[in-house]
Amino acid sequence: MSGDHQTLALLLFSAFVAVTLGITTWVGRDRHGSAEEFYTGGRLFSPMENGFAIAGDYMSAASFLGISGLIALFGYDGMLYSVGFLVAWLVVLLLVAELVRNCGRFTLADVVAARMRERPVRIAAGTSSVAVSVLYLVAQMVGAGSLVALLLGGTSEAARSWTVIGVGALMVVYVTLGGMRATTWIQIVKAVLLMAGTVALTVFVLLRFHGDFNALLTTAAERSGHGKEFLSPGLAYGGGWTARFDFISLGLALVLGTAGLPHILSRFYTVPTARAARRSVVWSIGLIGGFYLMTIVLGFGAAAVVGTDEVRASSAAGNTAVPLLALDLGGGAGSTGGTVLFAVVAAVAFATILAVVAGITLASSASVAHDLYASLKRPRRAGKPHARSHATPHPKPSAKSRAKPRGEVAVARFAAAGIGAVAIALGLLARDLNVAFLVGLAFAVAASANLPVLLYSLFWRNFTTRGAVWSVYGGLVPAVLLVVFSPVVSGSPGAMFPGVDFHVFPLQNPGLVSIPLGFLAGWIGTVLSREPADEAKHAESEVRSLTGAGAV
């Protein structure tokens, strides 16, 4: 490949970085440093803005590069990701978005802690939120690494490592300087860019086949080397029973995971009301649905235009299918059209990674500062200041209440840097795994650790503190352990540590086992509780969640 498209792509990407940094400084110019401002951007985004931002947060590199790559490699089996990622939003829309907006302030733990003894619940939910975020971040970092390897021609190890480090450093800058307001605007800009780029590529693919979807599928099947099998299930997950259960496990994790993702939940706090939260989800379902329909076209398009073997030759995991497709659609390597299109796609993908990384980092730093730090540092303060129920509507803020959120925001900024460092390190380790697949793991952990506790505390009258704590750890620990002892980490050629073999769990995705365990642990913990559920607090949390009374 020539150096032209690399230069152009780097230029475009630098422009994106410059624009987003500009936004960051502009929106942060008269920030007050309050926790409210840092975590939620003042809760004043409109549903449409937030809908675009949610879509931007969700349509990650995994979707753009990973899913299309999987479809290009395995045909129909890759489509499961597209379907699962979208259907998951029904769980969010119907069961979670409005109620969480009404009950919580900044994080998932707020919703649960409203009904429970605060400290243990916060520590549990905060820990699991950070774990999910770090896993998700690793996926994004891997995406950045494989993208730059393609962009810079050869697979220079140093170049890949430096990109991963650079992406990490940039996102820390965004988050610490801009907080939620800047992060949201970056998501919106990125969502618009990504949709535009995807629409353009889809149109080009369909034009190539004269709008004939049937011809596209037939050509894809021919050029994949698998014939008709390429279009029906079983190519990736068609082996023995292990592979079949893996497929079901993945399907379960995808559909239940979204509602437990901390960076998605925290987006609902950026709008003023539950109704606005609902309308932002409707916006985002429209955008995300359209986007995933297009990734299907792009995936089969990459198989048809580029060819499955060539995609595999470029990246064994398929992460580079879309950039290769763009190069081909524009007229092939060396042509002006190919250069421009490739550069645009690479820059968009890079922007995508950067924006998603910023969103996750912000959410996880909120969990660290608001949940973990606030609980561990001040065990006796029980978080919620009693002062707020006092008679005077506008009390003079005492020095103490003024100091608290400031200190918390400072901790959040440090946490962002720390989480960035951990994600960079893991991202360098995991760089040969498929991005969509890694995201599947993050979803499995989210569905096992976060979703049960969230649903129980929103819908189950008798749910207790012990049940909450047990359900978080009862989902988190098995999920993480099963990943560690799965073929993903050791004992298979594509594993993180291919040299050693300590895998005992046959499935790659733990969801099938760990999600039921999370629900089960919550139930057992509740049944075995010595203290009964607090009826008054349940009443408060139920009334608040459905009516919005007392919501911030």
């Binding site: 926790a35 299930p233 079983g234 009693h386 209440s401 003024r402 959120p405 400031r406 459905l546």
Partner: protein
């Protein structure tokens, strides 16, 4: 412009976020030209040491109006959730256990599996539309009324307590008037 407003409002906030609600820029139009619901003041939330505030929530929870809102919500959400989860799981399980069925051609290269996948997209869009329509028509208004009734009760309770408070220490003039005005304009906007 509502951003500007919000920022000014934020300037007068105290740093305790539970208090911010009092000062936030409510009742204005949000970006899409719809009135936003004003945010009720947060003091309500602190019930741990406020038995009376807790009583308000218990009363509201037992009221017929709330039960109606809750059952409307659950009557829609529970069957809908079960239905789409069952349909999705059937799709996933069929892909692994009945690949021959899924591979059966429908039209040209399009087979059953492809149609089922696109059907998932379609059903998701339809359910999204149905849910938001249901919530808009059958829940939003009543939920808002309940929200106001909680607001009114806590406000009354608080005023009562303020008066008692003032009786002992006479330096606080209750600045509620401004807020009440806010509330009424906001309410009018919402009911429009």
């Amino acid at each position: 412009m509502e951003k500007q407003e919000g920022r000014d409002a934020a300037a007068v906030r105290t740093d305790d976020p539970w208090y911010d609600a009092l000062a936030s820029g409510w009742g204005e139009l949000d970006g899409t030209g719809t009135p936003t619901t004003p945010v009720a003041p947060a003091p309500v939330a602190a019930t741990e040491h406020e038995p009376r505030a807790a009583e308000i929530y218990l009363e509201v929870q037992r009221s017929a109006a709330f039960q109606e809102v809750r059952s409307r919500y659950r009557r829609f959400v529970v069957p809908a959730t079960l239905a789409f989860l069952a349909w999705y799981l059937a799709y996933v399980v069929a892909a692994t256990t009945a690949p021959e069925l899924m591979a059966r051609p429908v039209a040209g290269a399009v087979n059953v599996a492809m149609v089922a996948g696109l059907g998932q997209f379609l059903s998701t869009f339809l359910l999204t539309w149905a849910y938001s329509r249901h919530a808009r028509l059958h829940r939003d208004r009543d939920a808002l009324d309940l929200r106001w009734s909680v607001f009114d009760r806590t406000r009354a309770q608080e005023q009562h307590r303020t008066r008692e408070h003032d009786r002992t220490r006479e330096q606080h003039g209750p600045p509620e008037r401004r807020e009440t005005q806010h509330r009424h304009t906001a309410r009018a906007g919402e009911r429009r």
